[in-house]
């Protein structure tokens, strides 16, 4: 409401957040788990004076830096970039609540970067004890950054006591915090092992070494799977009622939940039977399959986590359409166009005749020519609905969703979207504005598909 809405054809701008977030988390979890892997295994290799394993670990550390420090770090910054332009009000709110959480995370980022480079570039030059300590500094910092960012992302799903208390800690220590830290830590363990398998099957030539890597990395992976399941159960139990309902009601989410549990369990048994009991089974094909399963599980998990938040971006605080939840009643009285900084400026510029004492007079909107009403309906659609729906084509396109609807049906859903689907935000405008949006939707709606037969009399 306070900011311009970025129109991205076909996809809708929030989908860009989803894309970049998924691309990021696939590496971010490895950045944490991989750090722990390197610290633990380097310590083990030094203790047993295992030269071949140390050589492999050095090679893996280089791969790790290339993936996490470059791609992981930039896509992490990329999330910042994207949320600022695609979801500005929620970003502003999060930043004002959690700036010191991010600032703390930054301290750990610096430690990660410095320790990661020292760990790799001074390999073989630092004494083993110092080298391992540096590895642990990286691992600890990476895990702390996971904890800090999880407190913030978990807050988005369940704002806990924050709406009443409005303090940093009330928001950070929300009901979703511990389950998500558990699940993400598990994801980090599991994904790191899958990255290790993928890398080792191509790079570790000695079968004995490959078996050692397979067996040793199976334990954290098995632990990771358990943590994911435990965290997942905690996550479900701590979900707000609306999110639980969304999970049950939406068929796609239903399938995805089954998929994520099935994949996690499949990976668990494959890990147990494969690398843990029979390390020799690990082949490039097996590793690729594992890795693909891991990516599927993480991607699905992230999608579900995002999807069940609807209709909120921040539960009970900011709605998906960049409106403070507490402002809805006021907007219904005064008007959505009037309440939005950029929508009001747009109306004032194009239709100054609807202003009365500097305010938009809702009654005057319906006195405009029909075409202008449709144009204003488009403004309402873009600012109120485009965060989840494309127009004619694309992501969840409204023109396709309302095929064959009567004007009355459209109007009813426009005025009470939260009653038609509880995961939609409520209408935040006046009845006159609802009329404008209805006119626009009817203009772009596709007709009912022809040729459908229901046994009517001919």
């Amino acid at each position: 409401m306070h900011y311009p809405w970025w129109y991205v054809p076909f996809l809708t701008s929030p989908m860009l957040i989803a894309i970049i977030s998924v691309l990021h988390v696939l590496v971010a979890h490895y950045a944490v788990g991989g750090g722990l892997f390197l610290a633990v295994e380097t310590q083990y290799a030094y203790r047993h004076d295992h030269r071949e394993y140390l050589a492999y670990l050095k090679e893996h550390a280089w791969f790790f830096i290339l993936i996490t420090v470059v791609y992981g770090a930039i896509t992490g910054v990329g999330i910042w970039w994207t949320i600022g332009v695609a979801s500005p009000l929620a970003t502003q709110t999060l930043i004002h609540i959690f700036v010191f959480g991010w600032a703390m995370e930054y301290v750990f980022f610096v430690l990660e970067i410095v320790s990661a480079f020292i760990f790799y570039y001074f390999w073989g030059r630092l004494d083993p004890k110092t080298h391992v300590r540096i590895g642990w500094i990286y691992a600890g910092s990476a895990w702390m950054s996971l904890v800090l960012i999880t407190g913030i992302t978990a807050f988005m799903l369940h704002s806990g006591r924050w709406p009443e208390e409005r303090t940093f800690w009330a928001g950070f220590l929300n009901p979703q915090f511990v389950p998500q830290v558990l699940a993400r830590t598990g994801g980090a363990f599991l994904l790191a092992s899958l990255y290790v398998y993928l890398h080792a099957t191509f790079k570790a030539k000695d079968p004995a070494l490959r078996d050692l890597i397979a067996a040793r990395s199976a334990r954290p992976a098995l632990l990771g799977s358990l943590l994911i399941v435990l965290g997942g159960i905690g996550w479900y139990l701590a979900l707000p009622e609306s999110a639980k309902a969304a999970l049950i009601a939406a068929s796609t989410l239903n399938i995805l939940v089954v998929l994520i549990f099935a994949v996690t369990i499949a990976v668990f048994f494959m890990l147990y039977l494969g690398p843990y009991r029979n390390p020799g089974w690990l082949s490039p094909g097996f590793a690729i399959l594992f890795f693909t399963f891991g990516l599927v599980a993480i991607t699905t998990g992230e999608y579900i986590r995002e999807a069940v938040r609807k209709p909120y971006i921040i539960y009970n605080v900011v709605l998906g359409n960049q409106v403070y939840a507490e402002k809805v009643p006021e907007l219904r009285r005064t008007g959505y166009l009037e309440g939005g900084t950029w929508t009001k400026a747009w109306v004032a510029h194009h239709y100054p005749q609807v202003l009365n004492n500097g305010r938009i007079d809702p009654a005057q909107l319906l006195a405009l020519p029909e075409e202008d009403q449709v144009k204003l309906g488009e403004v309402l659609f873009l600012y109120h609905c485009n965060d989840c729906h494309a127009g004619r084509r694309g992501f969840s396109p409204v023109a396709q969703l309302i095929r064959g609807w009567t004007p009355e049906m459209v109007r009813t859903v426009v005025e009470h979207p939260e009653k038609a689907h509880f995961f939609m935000p409520p209408w935040a405008g006046t009845p006159e504005e609802a009329e404008l949006l209805t006119k626009y939707l009817l203009r772009i709606a596709h007709p009912r598909p022809a040729g459908m037969y229901f046994g009517e009399e001919k």
Partner: protein, 377 residues
């Protein structure tokens, strides 16, 4: 259209810390960010030029410039998080609209940066495996990388100049939007301050890169041939001279050619006059130090003095930019007048972790110093 109507209301949450705290970290963070960022911004292009037309010593310099680049980029990106974070806290009313108006170029920075960063790694890998005769395709990657960095700088200059040029918003918005929703394709190219700002930053980046060459030659180039340091000092002087001249020209263009009278008066009066003057002449200090070393020879202490002088130049630049930014925005909003609700315990915890973090970094660097001493002894 009155552009002030496009500025939204204040956040009901208020600032989480006093404005002075936020702006201090913003300026400090920007100063720290500029150090490594300058080296890659101008350094990659310089390395490509030196590799192409620099002769034997030039190629040696190019190699030494490019080798630490992956680490410098990682540090620079990381240091950039702080100013960006505090910009979003204190300047949210103008930062978000400006970046939304140019959303596609703004978001493309991430893609360009990823490609450029991998480009640097590809080039550096070539240095390891191919030595002086780096493959042509890798050289091409290096040139593309340099171009990407310049383009990223251009987009940054666009975003941060558009942030204060609120007057331009209505036209850009109405021209490039659909149903009142911006397409995200606007650029601030109509702003007369954009070009000198962009070029001024590049000139300043040249001077930082020159200082980096001096520091590298005195502190880290122990394995190079004896004549390398003299050649590096000569090259640094040349690069610094170009940078200082560029800074003088583009700075004058920026201040006298694009600033409104009112801003000029403000920046040339009272205590700000001293700051503006110092900012303008400060790049001369490291330049003189480089000149001195070129004539009298370099030492580690002299290199450190040059580096400190350059940090001072960057800090003065960051402070002046901040004052100008606030002055430009003063017509539309007062960023210091927002309500404040201090989050004491997270703030203290952050400062505590910051100090501990610095301690851990110092411990790690101490270990490297001890290693270096033991290896050289």
């Amino acid at each position: 259209m009155d552009p002030t109507t496009l500025i939204g209301p204040s956040s009901p949450l208020g600032y989480p810390a006093p404005y002075w705290f936020l702006v201090t970290f913003k300026v400090l963070g920007f100063t720290l960010h500029m150090i490594p960022m300058h080296i890659w911004y101008a350094g990659v292009l310089l390395a490509m030029l030196l590799q192409w037309r620099g002769g034997k010593v030039g190629r040696q310099l190019a190699r030494r410039l490019m080798r630490p680049m992956p680490i410098l980029i990682a540090l620079g990106i990381n240091f950039g998080i702080v100013p960006l974070l505090f910009t979003q806290v204190a300047y949210y009313k103008v930062f978000y609209p400006a970046t939304i108006l140019m959303a596609w170029p703004w978001v493309s920075i991430i893609v360009l940066l990823t490609l450029a960063y991998y480009g640097v790694y590809i080039y550096v890998a070539g240095l390891r495996t191919e030595g002086a005769t780096i493959a042509r395709w890798r050289q091409a990657v290096g040139w593309v990388t340099a171009a990407f960095f310049l383009l990223i700088g251009f987009f940054f200059s666009n975003a941060f100049s558009l942030m204060t040029r609120v007057r331009a918003w209505p036209d850009l918005w109405l021209r490039e939007s659909i149903g009142g929703a911006p397409l995200g394709t606007a650029l601030n190219t109509g702003d007369p301050t954009l070009w000198p700002r962009w070029l001024m930053m590049f000139s300043l980046a040249l001077t930082t890169t020159a200082v980096f060459i001096i520091v590298d030659a005195e502190w880290f180039a122990t394995q190079e041939r004896p004549n390398y340091r003299a050649a590096a000092r000569r090259a640094a002087l040349m690069i610094s001279t170009i940078g200082v001249i560029g800074f003088a020209i583009t700075g004058s263009w920026y201040v006298f050619g694009t600033w409104p009278e009112e801003l000029r008066e403000r920046m040339f009066q009272g205590p700000l006059r001293a700051l503006t003057g110092l900012t303008a002449i400060s790049p001369g200090a490291p330049w003189l130090l480089i000149l001195w070393q070129w004539r009298k020879g370099g030492t580690r202490a002299r290199a450190v003095a040059t580096a400190l002088a350059q940090v001072l130049v960057l800090a003065l630049n960051a402070i002046s930019r901040q004052i100008v930014q606030n002055a430009e925005l003063a017509h539309f909003l007062d960023v210091t007048a927002e309500p404040v609700r201090i989050q004491w315990s997270p703030l203290i915890l952050f400062l505590l972790l910051f100090v501990i973090g610095l301690g851990v970094v110092a411990w790690m660097l101490g270990k490297l110093k001890a290693l270096r001493t033991s290896e050289s002894g």
